[in-house]
């Protein structure tokens, strides 16, 4: 049979034949073609992902389930994960983004958690171009349209703009859910005789072979790809969330799976494999909304808003009643069996019969060849071009899509529903209170594709550190991470090297900083004819504040405060916004990971927040110290006098990025303690808070109105 027509490679086909001891039939090939696609099987990245640390005292669930779970104390835990929906968003921006949100929410729901927050990592081309602007608005509308209706607040995220994403946008959706330890739902709890029940929407042809679609590069004309995009209905998803939680509270759910990529097939085979049972699915029992669907179409459909429930047969009546109340389809579509097979039955005949573990786990790993070396790209030295006027340069930075005011985006998201949002979007950290306890969770999301392009190992590490530093500065301890690895094709040795090295860097940082990566996702083949994306790993971090007094805000300068730069005077110019603005493309060296240094910074930053030694704290990030000052000025509403005297190459001090560096505003009575804490690490007084302008001695003076006009555009 022509196995390649179904997306299978020769070696994969041979393994299938060997395991089955016969020829697979067409339906079986189609199913394995999808389940063994890159998107579903992670075949190219499993060996790399193994490097990521995933254990820890607080880890209740590591990778391998629908989402990771971390203990936050008081019997509570958070479930979280980030997932990509890149190709669908390129083809149909609104629905691609919307269904991305829907899918990740269901993953969190499948663990038994109540979804409490969403964040999004978005990567676009230059918004000044009409076609990009249209796509961006579609994606933003889709995220808002779905998240707002389903009642989960979108509280933050990261938006990255670069030409490499034109035609290859990235949409990574993250969701965080809350649950009690004893209510965690897992996949390994099914037993023979349990029923497999489909809850939610009817099944149609949405996304048939969508998982395979995500595993190939995009064709020139994406209009031909349209039938493969799923359509989401947030209203039904809200009903699914409510219904599932009623069932969970009534103790009727033995196991639960989201039906995402490869729908019924992946969810059913997953439970069977984890529980060491088999499963039989009767496709005729699946409630359909289209006629004439074949068995494999039903099995692989990615129609949205469907969950697979595993229940005891004696509970079906109660489950059906609950589904009826919430106006949802509810049908027994199969049952768990004694053998270890995944079987599809159509009109009484077995049409697919595969070993359950082969379906989800049987795909052999691929070890692509990597080019040698560090995977570094671009010139090793950034040019030493310096702008004539800092003020003009600063304005250019603040006007750039990456740094400008994002309120036109986040005001389209309901970021307040569920009334937990303590620090809304617009801040480096999003903070949510938890009603049942004094604790609060703090969330960040980061990516640095330019650092990863220039020096993959350092870039991978810096991605995690960039997400962690704002948490420490605001007083939150980092509990754990979720990651989404967005890369071009692994079949190119240079690409693969960059992938390898950046994951190695990410793993090194996660290990050193004791940050377990409890869930994640991979999206490869992000490229189209003539264009490929930079290596773009995204990290979402969850942090914990034990009580609200531990929180140190940003944008809270007080008149008379001294302003300190804590940490190394200079970050890195390579790959920074300034460097890219001046040189036109990334070059030079990004920040090099120094775990010892980061740990010291972490401890001192947490101390500063918990001991209330500062009024305001902000990590020096995009745009460097100058932008940090500008943003603090904007959010505080008071100005400052800065004196760069005595600094060698002050431009680098003010515009370099990265590294463990933070800008603090400290009131007079706390200065001594603050300096005592920081002086061994680096503590430079650069000025004081005063007046209504940002004044940099010997350089420029900016009024708030002018700054706002530029920043808000």
């Amino acid at each position: 049979m022509d196995y390649s027509a179904f997306g299978l490679r020769k070696k994969e086909y041979e393994i299938i034949r060997e395991e089955l001891k016969r020829e697979p039939n067409e339906s079986e090939l189609r199913i394995l073609g999808v389940m063994w696609s890159e998107h579903c099987s992670y075949k190219s990245t499993k060996p790399l992902l193994r490097q990521l640390p995933s254990k820890g005292d607080d880890v209740l669930q590591g990778p391998g389930e629908n989402a990771g779970i971390i203990d936050i104390g008081d019997g509570l835990a958070v479930a979280f994960k980030v997932e990509s929906h890149n190709h669908p968003s390129a083809v149909a921006p609104y629905q691609g983004a919307a269904t991305g949100v829907g899918g990740i929410i269901r993953d969190i729901l499948a663990m038994g958690a109540w979804p409490v927050a969403c964040m999004d990592g978005l990567f676009f081309g230059n918004p000044a171009k009409d076609k990009n602007a249209g796509l961006i608005q579609g994606v933003v509308s889709g995220i808002g349209g779905y998240g707002n209706a389903v009642g989960v607040p979108t509280v933050g995220g990261k938006t990255v703009y670069d030409d490499c994403y034109e035609g290859n946008p990235l949409v990574n959706a993250m969701c965080v859910g809350l649950l009690r330890h004893k209510k965690i739902i897992r996949s390994n709890t099914a037993k023979p005789g349990h029923l497999a029940v489909l809850l939610g929407s009817r099944t149609g042809r949405d996304g048939i072979a969508g998982a395979a679609f995500a595993s190939t590069g995009l064709e020139e004309d994406t209009k031909g790809s349209r039938p493969q995009v799923q359509i989401g209905d947030p209203f039904v998803e809200k009903l699914v969330i409510e219904c599932c939680h009623e069932l969970i509270d009534a103790g009727l759910i033995i196991s639960m799976q989201d039906m995402g990529a490869a729908g019924i097939t992946s969810s059913a085979s997953e439970v069977a494999a984890k529980s060491h049972t088999g499963v039989i699915i009767e496709v005729d029992k699946v409630p359909l909304r289209e006629s004439g669907m074949t068995a494999w179409e039903i099995a692989l459909s990615e129609s949205q808003e469907r969950m697979l429930l595993v229940i005891d047969p004696s509970d079906f009546v109660k489950v059906a009643e609950c589904a009826k109340k919430w106006q949802l389809e509810c049908a027994t579509i199969g049952k768990m069996t004694e053998d270890a097979r995944f079987r599809l039955v159509e009109k009484g005949e077995t049409v697919v019969d595969l070993p359950a573990k082969l379906v989800g786990d049987g795909c052999p790993e691929i070890h692509w060849p990597a080019s040698s070396g560090t995977g570094r790209k671009g010139k090793t030295q950034h040019s030493r071009v310096r702008p004539a006027a800092w003020k003009t340069h600063l304005f250019e930075l603040l006007r750039s899509p990456g740094l400008k005011d994002k309120s036109p985006i986040y005001e389209q998201y309901d970021h307040m529903v569920q009334i937990n949002t303590v620090v809304p979007p617009g801040s480096p950290v999003s903070v949510l209170r938890i009603k049942q306890t004094e604790r609060l969770i703090a969330l960040t999301m980061e990516s640095d594709p330019w650092a990863c392009a220039l020096d993959p190992f350092s870039g991978g590490a810096e991605t995690l550190l960039k997400a962690a530093r704002p948490l420490w500065v605001c007083g939150a301890e980092v509990l754990g991470a979720t990651d989404c690895l967005n890369y071009p094709s692994p079949e190119d040795p240079d690409n693969y090297r960059a992938l390898e090295e950046s994951v190695r860097g990410l793993a090194a940082a996660a290990t050193e900083m004791n940050c377990p990566v409890v869930s994640g996702n991979v999206s490869l083949y992000n490229e189209s004819p003539g264009a490929r994306i930079y290596p773009s790993p995204v990290v979402g971090l969850v942090g914990l504040l034990r009580q609200v007094n531990e929180y140190l805000p940003q944008g809270s300068w007080k008149d008379g405060d001294s302003l300190f730069l804590a940490g190394p005077l200079r970050g890195a110019m390579g790959g920074s916004m300034s460097q890219r603005l001046l040189d036109g493309s990334p070059s030079g060296a990004p920040w090099v990971f120094d775990p010892g240094q980061e740990k010291v910074f972490r401890d001192k930053a947490l101390d500063t927040a918990h001991r209330n030694l500062a009024n305001s704290g902000r990590v020096v990030a995009g745009g460097g110290l100058a932008v940090a000052l500008a943003k603090e000025f904007i959010h505080s509403g008071i100005g400052a006098s800065i004196d760069p005297q005595g600094l060698e190459d002050p431009f680098e001090v003010f515009f370099s990025e990265g590294g463990p560096r933070a800008l603090y505003a400290v009131s007079g009575n706390k200065e001594v303690d603050f300096c005592r804490l920081w002086e061994s690490f680096g503590c430079r007084r650069i000025g004081f808070v005063d007046g209504d302008r940002l004044h940099v001695e010997g350089n420029f003076e900016i009024e708030l109105d002018d700054l706002l006009a530029v920043w808000k555009g």
């Binding site: 209203f235 009903l239 389209q412 998201y413």
Partner: protein, 235 residues
């Protein structure tokens, strides 16, 4: 005070309202399913919460307005009971004709979630009894459809009868286009019926009832209601 918070398929601010009522005024708040034919006994306030009932399909609040529970809510209002509609709840009240007007899409044609300031136009309603005249309250909005509309003649009548209870305004209390987030006619943020016992508003008081969330001004509404009921008020 005993409160019934109605839950339609797609409502998503019901639990928020319950939490807010419980924590600010210690109310006994119960969520009531849209298929109920009766309200809980001795209910003193009915709240129609925000959200996306029926997915906002057809028109916001249109289908929710025509559900079994609304018969009980209507009877309750006709007998002088207090009814508060927040955001989608306000839309349900206009669709039910318990309040006049229609709520159209925001002028910007986008969803808008942001803090607003609103001015209290009347402090002689049960909902605003503890407010000072022209007090400015900070409360957030979160809607795609929030533009209050009435044909000109009916709008003039509404103004004449002094039935506008909240208007969008600047932080200093001035009504201005720049501070009207959705283009509502007359900068209307909330109105009351002729009898004064049914109020609808687009901003969310339950999202501004605790300092930690950024504003506790929403609590003025809960406290006013609580105080009014305690003093044996009725209409």
């Amino acid at each position: 005070m005993r409160v019934a918070v109605i839950v339609f398929p797609g409502s998503n601010c019901d639990r928020d309202v319950v939490h807010s009522l419980e924590t600010t005024v210690g109310a006994e708040a119960e969520r009531v399913w849209y298929e109920s034919h009766d309200l809980p006994r001795e209910v003193e306030l009915v709240v129609l919460p925000g959200g996306f009932s029926y997915g906002d399909y057809l028109r916001c609040g249109a289908m929710a307005a025509r559900t079994p529970v609304m018969d009980s809510v209507r009877r309750f209002a006709e007998n002088g009971g207090l009814v508060l509609g927040i955001c989608n709840g306000f839309q349900v009240l206009t669709e039910s004709h318990l309040l006049p007007g229609a709520i159209l899409a925001n002028r910007s044609l986008t969803f808008l979630c942001k803090n607003c300031t609103i001015r209290v136009e009347r402090n002689d309603t049960p909902f605003t009894a503890l407010c000072a005249p022209n007090q400015v309250l900070q409360m957030p909005i979160a809607h795609h459809e929030g533009l209050f509309f009435l044909p000109e003649a009916q709008m003039q009548r509404l103004e004449r009868e002094n039935r506008i209870v909240f208007r969008y305004c600047s932080p200093e209390g001035e009504t201005q286009d720049a501070y009207n987030p959705n283009g509502s006619m007359g900068h209307v943020a909330g109105i009351v019926n002729e009898r004064g016992n049914v109020l609808g508003l687009m901003p969310h008081p339950e999202r501004a009832s605790e300092r930690i969330l950024g504003s506790a001004d929403g609590a003025f509404i809960w406290n006013s209601l609580h105080s009014w009921l305690e003093e044996g008020g009725h209409r």
